[in-house]
């Protein structure tokens, strides 16, 4: 019983981490049609900023708060300078963002060297429920993920900003005719997606420690999750991330980890092949 509970918690917390990482990726992919290969590096940057705050003696949470804003601002600048040129061509966008990611990743590698740097958890210790102990920080991540998910959903579906964003992404020319500044909305969307990646990086760095290939590890899982969930909506990628995250955390409990690792990808690709529209088809929130 206790074991099953711990397993369930592990699975849930890994699922939450994947959802957190995929949120930004999904928003950029769904709303802008760009598969951002630099997203993993935005996660890495968020983690790096948190580490930097910790290394400079600032409280860790200060770094975690700063990370999404800094990464979001960087995303806004990159969108205006570079990403903007790629909208017409999805494959070129992949290559271009890959190049961007390469630059960021190698710069961070140059800064931290080949090390694995650890950042302590801002909320340490464990939560005890009877005889069971679960990590307080992982629990916090689950809570924050739920809050961020709800926040994003409300922002996109209930606010004026979200409405304009969706309008821009669904029909740019009509949106322009209605007086919405579409370049600004694209910039804001990309910045928002990057900021979410930065937040994800900041939150997961105590769990995974900081190393240059941190982002790469999640990137492909993230892409697969977006495709499984369905590009075009906000809910789709989140659902896909839930499925992929849960599967890749749950399967190693019942079979050899190597087989489980590969099986998740194979299942996902087969699923996408036969249901290209993903779990949740359609546009909108």
């Amino acid at each position: 019983m206790a074991n099953a509970f711990v397993a369930a918690f592990e699975i849930l917390s890994f699922g939450a981490i994947i959802v957190l990482i995929v949120l930004g990726l999904g928003i950029i992919a769904s709303m802008m049609g760009i598969f951002n290969f630099a997203q993993g590096e935005f996660v890495l940057l968020g983690a790096y900023i948190t580490y930097l705050a910790y290394a400079k003696g600032l409280p860790i949470w200060a770094g975690m708060v700063a990370a999404p804003f800094v990464v979001g601002a960087l995303g806004f600048v990159l969108e205006a300078l570079i990403i903007r040129r790629f909208y017409a061509a999805p494959i070129v966008a992949m290559l271009g963002t890959y190049a961007l990611g390469l630059i960021i990743r190698e710069s961070v590698r140059g800064l931290i060297g080949g090390f694995y740097l650890t950042v302590p958890e801002p909320i340490g210790g464990s939560i005890d429920i009877g005889a069971m102990h679960i990590s307080a920080w992982r629990f916090t991540i689950i809570v924050i993920t739920l809050l961020v998910m709800a926040g994003c959903y409300l922002l996109l579906s209930r606010t004026n900003f979200g409405l304009r964003m969706r309008a821009t992404l669904e029909n740019p020319s009509l949106a322009r005719a209605s007086g919405i500044s579409t370049p600004l909305m694209y910039g804001a969307t990309f910045a928002f997606g990057s900021a979410l990646a930065g937040l994800a990086g900041a939150l997961i760095v105590p769990v995974f420690s900081l190393y240059a290939d941190l982002g790469l590890r999640f990137l492909i899982q993230g892409f697969v999750a977006v495709m499984v969930g369905g590009v075009g909506s906000f809910i789709g990628p989140v659902a896909g991330a839930g499925v992929i995250g849960t599967l890749s955390a749950a399967l190693p409990w019942v079979m050899a980890p190597v087989v489980a690792d590969v099986l998740v990808f194979v299942l996902a690709i087969v699923f996408i092949k036969f249901r290209p529209q993903g779990l949740i088809a359609g546009k909108g929130v």
Partner: protein, 362 residues
């Protein structure tokens, strides 16, 4: 991709084009052929290289030639058929692992057995993956194919890392050298000329292929897939065929690489090598066979030269250069000397100016 072809060639450093296909091609009106000259220069340089280079550089040059062969395979798939294969290393690496296992477990190192075996392994994997990703009732989206190949390569990497039989993280070390009778091919000029000979033969075969009727259909596929389908071609089948051929060439390169380096390791099937080959072709110029070769030589050469002194910042410079090439020279470095007309090539008497569009249209 953008449907509008700019009539005026954009200057470098001028306003960048959004679309990959129209940025600054120096179009030459004259019928002067630049391509054979470039090919001839590269061949002569390659033939003379071992005479001028020191021994350890010949070993390096051999590796570059093998990687150029690998780049050729990606160029066939992306440059000619417009299939973004982000997992080309899957075929390269699995062939490498295949021949390494042949040498380790069955003591087969005969060149006439291992090279065909590697090619067949590459062909088979490409046929399976390509058939699955590309064929079917509904044409697959470009995004699906590129992410599917990427995922395939990543999954293979994870499998190779975790599978004890394949040596896990360490791969398979100290593979016996390739042999011909009692002669053993070890690193050095003999291996270099062997590899160069194979590259030339494969290059000529590819050149024949892309200049044939099949190549014409492929070029059409890259320019406008829908139109080719309306003409009655089975676009998906064409794609699967060229993807398989590309896999075979990658397999051949992979088996040569395994024997040349003497070991195989999980990175060889993974994302790192897959993206490496994309870099070569983008740098050199996709859609021209020689561009892929030149790209591999330049990227590896500069990387070798810089990595002694600037090991840390070299990948950053590479990223910046790649970004600049994508933004301002989408047709690669070869487009500095090669005109659009020659790049597309002429087929029989119907040498027409090509109007490039919709490479990525679903």
């Amino acid at each position: 991709m953008g449907a509008v072809k700019r009539a005026i060639p954009a200057e470098i450093g001028g306003e960048a084009d959004v679309v990959m296909d129209s940025g600054g091609t120096a179009r030459r009106a004259s019928a002067r052929k630049v391509l054979p000259i470039v090919e001839g220069v590269v061949l002569v340089a390659a033939l003379l290289a071992p005479l001028l280079l020191q021994d350890y550089l010949t070993v390096f040059a051999t590796r570059v030639i093998i990687l150029a062969l690998f780049a050729l395979s990606f160029d066939l798939v992306w440059g000619y058929a417009g299939i973004m294969s982000f997992g080309q290393a899957l075929f390269f690496g699995s062939a490498g692992y295949g021949v390494a296992l042949l040498a380790r477990d069955l003591d087969i190192t005969n060149i006439f057995l291992v090279l065909p075996a590697g090619t067949i392994i590459g062909l088979t994997f490409a046929l399976l993956l390509g058939g699955f990703l590309l064929l079917g009732r509904h044409p697959s989206s470009v995004i699906f194919v590129s992410l599917g190949t990427l995922t395939g390569s990543y999954a293979a990497d994870r499998l190779a890392r975790g599978w004890y039989y394949l040596g896990g993280q360490n791969g398979i070390p100290s593979i016996a050298p390739m042999s011909l009778g009692t002669y053993e091919f070890t690193e050095g000029p003999a291996f270099y000329y062997l590899v160069l000979g194979i590259l030339v033969v494969v290059y000529l075969l590819c050149r024949f292929l892309v200049r044939s009727q099949f190549g014409l259909a492929l070029a059409g596929l890259r320019e406008n897939e829908q139109r080719i389908a309306f003409f009655g071609y089975k676009a998906q089948h064409l794609k699967a065929i060229i993807f398989t051929i590309g896999g075979g060439v990658a397999g051949l390169a992979g088996s040569l690489y395994a024997f040349h380096e003497g070991f195989v390791w999980p990175n060889m099937v993974g994302v790192v090598v897959s993206t490496q080959v994309v870099l070569y072709v983008l740098f050199g110029g996709s859609g021209t066979l020689i561009g892929a070769v030149i790209g591999a030589v330049i990227v590896e050469g500069v990387s070798f030269w810089l990595s002694d002194n600037y090991r840390d910042i070299w990948p950053i410079i590479l990223g910046l250069l790649l970004l600049l090439v994508i933004l301002f020279r989408p047709l690669g470095l070869i487009s500095f000397v090669l005109g659009e007309r020659e790049r597309v090539g002429s087929f029989g008497a119907r040498a027409k100016e090509s109007v490039k569009e919709n490479r990525d249209a679903p």
